[in-house]
């Protein structure tokens, strides 16, 4: 690791202020991704601002027809929360399937979506459920938040405070885990709500994306067979040693059907 200054502020204002005043600072959440990047010298921040002493950034609550989850809430807390299991079981299942138990005890919702790994699970949850990302500066719809591979609409110094998930009528998330890392080779979130149907795919492309043709078909008929014959073109999908682009394209169809089944079963 390159040298950095470490700060552990005890107020949100101090955290945001610190990042503004230091030369090239980064927020530290669970550190499950950032520490590996530091170790490999892929990142060279002048300062790390640890968000670990800010209880106001973690927690899960229901506000009307929304489930609100703080940025520092650990994956394990989301997976185990009765509130999440009752209102959006697909989101609890998604969190329970991230990495392994130790990673889930440290890794956070905010860290996962700020990082926007092309194979991460939460981006599919946030985009598929049509959530809103609340930052220190503004509110961003999921559709504008994820902008590219490891890229988001966050400006330098902008902090994610919480994510607001509208509670859907039903939703399902299914991933085909890469067996060594358990990241999504492909993962699909399908959600149906009064606003319509959303289908979000992670792992397959450089960035999480929606599949409008599937959304329209499912809006007509929310059944797995409604997706028969709908194919996602392989052209722009990831092609690497884990899977070819064609294989990933095929998986999108298979997993979307399974996600609809899971949604129908209320899993």
């Amino acid at each position: 690791m390159y040298a950095f200054n470490y700060h552990r502020p005890d107020s949100l204002e101090a955290a945001i202020g610190l990042l503004r005043t230091c030369e090239d600072g980064l927020f530290l959440a669970g550190g499950q991704t950032l520490l590996q990047s530091l170790r490999q010298r892929l990142a060279q921040p002048s300062d790390l601002i640890d968000l670990g002493a800010l209880p106001e950034l973690s927690g899960i609550r229901r506000e009307g027809d929304q489930l609100v989850i703080g940025a520092m809430t650990r994956h394990a807390e989301v997976a185990a929360s009765d509130l999440v299991r009752q209102s959006i079981p697909a989101l609890a299942a998604l969190a329970a399937g991230i990495g392994d138990a130790q990673v889930r005890n440290m890794g956070t919702l905010g860290g996962s979506i700020a990082n926007n790994d092309p194979a991460a699970d939460y981006p599919a949850g946030v985009l598929g459920l049509g959530a809103t990302v609340v930052t220190s500066e503004r509110e961003l719809a999921a559709d504008e938040f994820f902008t590219g591979m490891f890229e988001t609409a966050l400006e330098p110094g902008e902090l994610i405070r919480e994510v607001r998930f509208p509670i859907p009528r039903r939703a399902g998330y299914v991933k085909f885990a890469q067996p060594a890392s358990r990241y999504a080779l492909v993962g699909v979130m399908v959600a149906e709500s009064a606003a319509g149907v959303r289908v979000a795919v992670t792992g397959a492309g450089p960035c999480v994306f929606r599949v409008p043709a599937m959304e329209q078909a499912l809006a007509q008929d929310f059944q797995p067979q409604a997706l028969d014959g709908i194919e996602v073109p392989a052209d722009e999908l990831n092609d690497d040693l884990h899977a070819s682009a064609e294989y990933r394209a095929h998986l999108v169809g298979v997993l979307a059907r399974r996600a609809v089944k899971a949604a129908l079963a209320g899993l």
Binding site: M1, A3, F4, N5, Y6, R8, L28, G31, Q32, L35, Q36, L38, R39, L48, D50, G52, A53, A76, G99, D100, A101, Q102, V103, N105, M106, R182
Partner: protein, 167 residues
């Protein structure tokens, strides 16, 4: 920078480089070498310890992140020079061969039994996904954890919890 925390019930304080990981701090500053480093990249789980009663990979936690926390390592789980029921079960059921992964396995097992005192085999295997063992093939590790669950159910409260209450 200065850090302070409680390790195995004992308050500790030290001056450290901010780049120090929790496992380096335990092994090099506190000489608690029972916690092993297998990969140093968050993959193998050999470095698993408890941070405020939750299993974490101590190679993937900066020492600053443990500021003010209660840390428990493999050295801190047994009572009076004896073995913790999970350690005893690993010995009894041949849950280790070279023993390199064992401290991490035991710490993960204690965490999983705390959350689920009577886990199914599937749950045990799922909860151990972050712990790699190159020797045993996992079978006897699973058996040991099932046996430990049974012993611990018969002798409540669990020794780690007692220890923390005393601390």
């Amino acid at each position: 920078m200065k850090v302070s925390m409680t390790v195995n019930g004992r308050p500790v304080e030290a001056e450290v480089d901010p780049r120090t990981t929790l496992v380096e701090f335990l092994r090099k500053h506190l000489n608690l070498t029972g916690t092993h480093v297998g990969c140093d990249t968050g993959q193998c789980g050999a470095c698993t310890v408890h941070l405020n009663d939750r299993a974490v990979k101590s190679c993937s936690v900066l020492v600053g992140q443990a500021q003010g926390a209660a840390v428990t390592t493999i050295e801190g789980i047994a009572e009076d020079g004896g073995l913790h029921p999970v350690q005893a079960a690993f010995r009894e059921h041949h849950g280790l061969q070279c023993g390199f992964c064992t401290p991490g396995m035991v710490m993960m097992a204690i965490d999983l039994l705390r959350n689920d005192p009577a886990p199914s085999e599937a749950t045990i295997r799922q909860q151990l996904q972050g712990n790699l063992c190159r020797c045993t093939g996992y079978h006897n590790i699973v058996k040991a954890i099932q046996a430990a669950a049974a012993t611990m159910a018969a002798t409540e409260p669990a020794p780690t919890q007692m220890k923390e209450q005393l601390a």
